[in-house]
Symmetry: C2
Subunit: 202 residues, 2 copies
Amino acid sequence: MDLEPAVLDFWFDFASTYSYVGAMQIEELCRAAGVPIRWKPFLLGPIFARQGLRDSPFNVYPRRGAYMWRDLERLCHKHGFPWRQPTRFPRSSTLPARVACLIADEPWCGDFVRRIFVANFGEDREIGELPVVAKILEELGKPSELIGTALDESHRGLLRTNTAQADALELFGAPNCIVNGEIFWGEEALADAVEWARRPSA
Amino acid sequence: MDLEPAVLDFWFDFASTYSYVGAMQIEELCRAAGVPIRWKPFLLGPIFARQGLRDSPFNVYPRRGAYMWRDLERLCHKHGFPWRQPTRFPRSSTLPARVACLIADEPWCGDFVRRIFVANFGEDREIGELPVVAKILEELGKPSELIGTALDESHRGLLRTNTAQADALELFGAPNCIVNGEIFWGEEALADAVEWARRPSA
């Protein structure tokens, strides 16, 4: 019997609204519970396409979308997270996702992730554009050359691999916490996922 | 300023899995918070059709469906609710919904609602069939003649009205708690909805 908490993989897309409110909470929840976290950026586009969706379900189903925008506003107000409904949705998240893949094991990855999310959903900035990502790296005291490295042919495969793995895991949305193969989807499942990581496993 | 808690309308379909776990909790949550509850049975079928869906989204999107079944099992285990994955999904819920409309204002409506839900998702019984509903009424010490009354032309309109109202409210799924026009969708939003009912309103 293993009494060490299991690792929690946090699968997210920077374009995803509920990934935003999830990403703002998950590292602190894990820290408080002594659960190690791994950041797993991926792209929802190919995952939606697999299900026959050519766009975010929030755009395909307008009632669902209208509810999501109101819900996000409420959730951000409740948690005290910055919120400004983006003028474009979903935004391309490929560039910051490539950077996040490159730095996924760095201790400051969580800071980068949250800054990008706030830029998208709290400040209505174009997170798919290079100057925005460079500025955020600079604010974190990190070299913007990391972007070049992330776009490098030798590193581009990281995001493709993550997205292929997300597909193999049969993910259908984001965020997801995965613990010992158990999938917890959505912002509402964060606490249950962290709890799961603390269950004694065989 | 009104310091009385607002009424919480609980909109549900007996065919809906998350309505089940919501219905098992909502009356007790409301009671503990001093929030009055109103039961609002409706049919999801016409609501899904409005969005171009010919079946439950859990059947239309198999990955979403597979996740839901696992999630329901986990949620029921966590809360200690009976759970047996039904051999038919979704089941016709029209008959028990008509009865629930008829008795919506009775103090035992919650008991009836929970029993029907447990029959569907804890016991794999055909809740759309008359003997099953009659048995449950009998177990509650209520006359099975209520079924006849509910099917009466003078009462059939109740369910149609609720479903039309759900459509006018732009509902897209279930369960929903509605408080002062504010919609809270899903089992995960029950606590926030009850909290909302206790906010001082203008």
